[in-house]
Symmetry: C2
Subunit: 231 residues, 2 copies
């Protein structure tokens, strides 16, 4: 497997390049439109063919590069069916397998941050990887107060779908605002302050007290992302 983590400073977004070394087929998770030229450069230099651009959800803080990448490379674009996006090549469902050469990403429906939030799960040899978008962050979780977010759903997504995976599973989030690049399920279970609550009721209360301002780009980003970043 070829694996690269890329960071976009303005929105503190992580984008992931995952490729099958044998076939040269590649996927990009959570791209940022302004960095599309960089992705094209890296794909070319590593001699890879982009087969799909996936988004974990309809982002409110940056504009996806998926549509532009499809125009430039002919790749497909993928987003959860709950997004009701008419522009995507294919709308994902819970449990769906996404082939990338000989690798397979599994789409896990993990609503809560938004009602269209997915986590992508990959097993490669002895290692398991989760690309958690804004569902599970390093020592945090994504806010649940807009885009049909639900703290109760997020609690279920976290505790029933993600934290049940092996403790050594790598956690690669959609953002980090303090410069940390990865974690593990074991580390988050032990040290993520939001995961120390005793039950769903306590989690809902915790999340309802955050009182965060809306993302600056939200009114532009959400409609743009429903249009694959080409609005």
């Amino acid at each position: 497997m070829i694996f690269r983590q890329l960071f976009e400073q303005e929105s503190s977004t992580y984008t992931y390049l995952i490729a099958c070394e044998k076939t040269g087929k590649a996927a990009l998770i959570d791209t940022v439109k302004s960095d599309v030229p960089q992705y094209i450069q890296l794909l070319r230099e590593l001699n890879l063919t982009l087969v799909c651009a996936l988004d974990t959800h309809t982002h409110a803080d940056h504009i996806t590069g998926a549509g532009e990448l499809r125009d430039l490379t002919g790749c497909t674009t993928l987003l959860g069916e709950e997004a009701n996006s008419t522009c995507v090549s294919h709308a994902l469902r819970d449990g769906e397998k996404i082939p990338v050469g000989e690798l397979t990403l599994t789409a896990l429906y993990t609503p809560g941050h938004t009602d269209d939030s997915y986590t992508f799960h990959l097993t490669e040899g002895d290692e398991q990887y989760l690309f958690t978008g804004d569902t599970l962050l390093i020592r945090g979780t994504g806010r649940t107060d807009f885009q049909n977010g639900s703290a109760r759903d997020q609690y279920q997504s976290l505790f029933e779908k993600l934290l049940v995976l092996p403790e050594t599973t790598w956690v690669y989030p959609g953002h980090d605002y303090k410069g940390w690049t990865r974690s593990t399920i074991g580390e988050e279970k032990a040290h993520n302050p939001r995961l120390q609550v005793k039950d769903a009721v306590a989690y809902v209360e915790l999340m309802s007290n955050l009182k965060l301002p809306n993302p600056k780009l939200m009114d532009i980003a959400v409609p743009a992302n429903r249009a694959c970043g080409k609005h």
Copy 2:
């Protein structure tokens, strides 16, 4: 091996945590003073003991956290002997081995960006890692126009010490300004525009034409770093 890459946004600096899983002993490479509380948190949460804080060179763009980490943890601080820093616990020489539990970092003297620039080399199983500081960047090299920098020395450091290593060797730089997190020796040989020159003379000419402004923090950072960040 436990391995974490951390990013400090203001100076686009990468800091590396390397630890021996068996003994719990850890090293930090190129720390940033303002992030010391984060390093202490991560060391505590991963149950690690910091044995040394290394700097690849006397930085001109940020202030090292080494001195403060020594005060807080009792670790040693290491910097090349050419830095003539009277505060470090130990001054490194070319080829010196630095034990971190059962891991060993080898200090390679790679002058050019500054006259006290070192690269740290680690072999772990089948993998080789280079922590290149500002000697070799992803698709770039560190400027050579201050702190006794020398493009001729840097050419030698690059072509005779680093690019001779296996193509699969991981390159983890001291900075990246476009959000790329790692590369390999093979990738840099093929695609780093500064490494496509035909000889040392051409490299010296290329570097002498960069005409970059001085780093904003230089007049503060260099004396502070000679004092282990505690000036």
